[in-house]
Symmetry: C2
């Protein structure tokens, strides 16, 4: 993609309204624009990141045996009356009346709706277990939305729901999501720590939050340092196998959020305890028959018994993650995208657009990388070198490949890794193979 | 995917509420379920189709130089007051009040919102042209929603917007979308005909509808038979080139919707005129400065002049297309998916699940096809053969590959092409290579 044609409205000034670094950088890097309080438009660069996160979530959900559906954003108030949550939910629920005066709402979550679907179409014990999820926009009418996409009102969430015959089976579903979440965050390039959690307004028993570590995180977290050193489950993990040992391994080590941590009763000796800042990016619950009973979601067992299904719900804040990744990975110059979610792989800088020699080399590199499946953002603008370097650092693509008039004479280009900042003068072929090798 | 685990609630009975064939078949094939009037949940099979259509649209938009963004579903009423459409839009606009009594609305379209984005972030003539689109849920509060996803209230639309300096440039943008639309429908497997259209409530001058032919289409259309015989633009088309000749070729031949067709003044002799049924699946407009003037979207020209940008909008009904494809491609037994949007490529039927020989062959075929990137829905259920065949015809996957106890003894399987119904007895390897060759 040629930057001269790309819609990338970067900002030199830091927008005054942005209080946290991810919000500042997403605005400055031209990723998002506020449409109204807590509601954002995703511009081309931001959309690419969102899509990459979404694809990773889809792939890991599929690997874990979950099936993608898509429920609508608007729901009937009467459905929420069945669970008793319509009145309980409070002013964060956006209530809507249509032209026929039907009471509706913009879904803040989908336990009722998915339970209705399963209730209406699953009758027999043979049809369970099922694990269904979707990635859809939600709305929570926060009284004071802030922090950009980290706490927006309209936000993109992956919410999944499992349906099982009994606790043992539901625990297996829960474990598979526990493992899938660890894998998802690791693939994105984040260190995520599961923490035992309260069940919150959705209600439930077994419950974990997933917190990623970021110096600028919203709250303090405490963890056994052995937990931080653990490797995420491998990508060859067998989701059919018993995952309880993995679950045990991760949950037996101490971790706690600020509210739950009690220094006086902490089981971990001070020298083994790490205090860090964290951001919640996922939450999983087992809630038993909390929804299936009021909504009448039951299946027929072999002996004719009707049994209410056991449910769990599993959420990942997809749009929130775009901000959280930046909180976890940036420096003074801008964003540092992990490879897996970078909007482009390579920022190709032509220092002298319009110069035949530079244009030839830059266009050739662009073509060769693109043909190899590498996503290139090619800065072919008629701008000063300083502007080009600053913009490239700001938007944080993993590789910067610079073509300048001096180097071109001797067939050399500069390759910089955004994460560490290392620069190398390389022949064109070496630069190409270094980028291609790293991807392989 | 093993059908025994898949959430595919097919129905034997035809739901009484469904008046048209696509609605009936989408319900019967377990693709969608109604959540409330005109609002649908997409179940796993339906979601896969929706996603494939979406991907094709994304790819063709990118090929034509359009850039993907994502605007939110909810918009501010005040923004629509700037264009004058807030009061003009009528009861189809879903109006919403948030907890702070701000007037909002669920976007039925996005001309205002994208114009605001461009207004705020594009200042110079050098930043144009731009062509931005998104695929996002829309809401139009139809007084009597019907025909399933063909005329829903909450629907998924690709809406794109071009911004140019003058009419000539805007016409080039318009032409590129005209060609991209022809390519998009052709890739999906549909015969689409552009028809000169009124501009409708969005306002505009140059305007075409794209209509696909289906015997069960909603309205009569008339076209020169030479138009129906034309091949769509090739996939190697150069969007940088002058597309006006292609545009001329397609628009010089007569075509008209029922309302516009006047038999007394039709320029085509009766023997060359085809009357058919059609479904509108896209609409493109050039609307000049209709939005840029009231919203103050102007750029600075080289001489310092401020110039209002020239706009166009380009819509494809993505969720509607899922229904339209079925209207265009089905038989008495069910859906016949075009290859490009089929939810799976192959329906693998094991006629005797639990039989060692059949299981071995079916599992092996499943593994080999999946490894080769073929998407397989593997019917491993303990059901009668008749049920399996009926379900497979109903959901309409392009290939049916049947493993039965008799054939297995002699190493034979049956391969059926859903579209034509031809069946072949083949060795396992021949069946495999026929499927793989067809894909290549």
């Amino acid at each position: 993609m040629r930057l001269s044609r790309y819609f990338l409205p970067t900002l030199k000034e830091t927008p005054a309204e942005a209080q946290i670094v991810s919000h500042r950088l997403m605005l400055r890097a031209g990723m998002v624009r506020q449409a109204s309080a807590g509601i954002y438009s995703w511009l081309p660069l931001g959309f690419r990141v969102l899509k990459k996160i979404e694809n990773i979530v889809h792939e890991e959900m599929a690997a874990a045996g979950a099936q993608a559906v898509l429920m609508p954003t608007l729901q009937l108030a009467d459905l929420w009356r069945e669970s008793g949550r319509y009145d309980a939910y409070g002013p964060e629920m956006l209530r809507i009346t249509d032209r026929h005066d039907r009471e509706m709402l913009y879904g803040p979550t989908n336990e009722e709706q998915i339970t209705q679907i399963v209730r209406d179409d699953i009758r027999s014990y043979r049809d369970l277990p099922k694990n269904l999820y979707h990635i859809q926009w939600k709305f929570r009418d926060e009284i004071r939305p802030r922090f950009g996409v980290m706490r927006g009102r309209e936000f993109l969430m992956k919410d999944g729901y499992s349906f099982d015959l009994d606790f043992e089976s539901a625990k297996r579903s829960y474990n598979s999501m526990f493992v899938a979440y660890l894998r998802t965050y690791a693939r994105i390039g984040l260190k995520a720590i599961p923490m035992r959690a309260d069940s919150g307004p959705i209600g439930g028993d077994l419950s974990h939050e997933f917190v990623i570590l970021a110096d600028t995180g919203e709250s303090a977290v405490f963890a056994d340092k052995a937990l931080l050193a653990m490797d995420p489950p491998s990508d060859t993990i067998d989701f059919e196998a018993d995952l309880e040992p993995i679950m045990q391994k991760w949950t037996s080590l101490y971790s706690a959020t600020d509210e739950k941590h009690d220094p006086a009763n902490c089981p971990v000796p001070a020298e083994d305890l790490v205090e860090a800042r964290g951001i919640e990016v996922g939450h999983i619950f087992y809630f038993g028959t909390n929804y299936s009973e009021p909504l009448g979601c039951a299946v027929t067992m072999p002996d004719g018994e009707k049994r209410f299904v056991h449910g769990g719900s599993y959420g990942i804040g997809v749009s929130r993650l775009a901000g959280a990744i930046i909180e976890a990975s940036h420096d003074d110059a801008g964003i540092i995208w992990p490879d897996a979610v970078a909007p482009f792989d390579v920022g190709l800088i032509n220092l002298k657009s319009g110069d035949d020699a530079c244009d030839t080399v830059a266009n050739d590199l662009d073509a060769k990388l693109s043909t190899a499946g590498v996503e290139v953002l090619h800065d072919d603008r008629d701008e000063r070198a300083g502007v080009k370097f600053a913009d490239m650092d700001l938007i944080g693509l993993p590789w910067q490949l610079t073509v300048g008039p001096r180097g071109v004479k001797s067939g050399m280009v500069e390759l910089k890794r955004r994460a560490g900042g290392e620069k190398q003068e390389l022949s064109i072929d070496s630069a190409l193979s270094q980028i291609l090798d790293k991807r392989a």
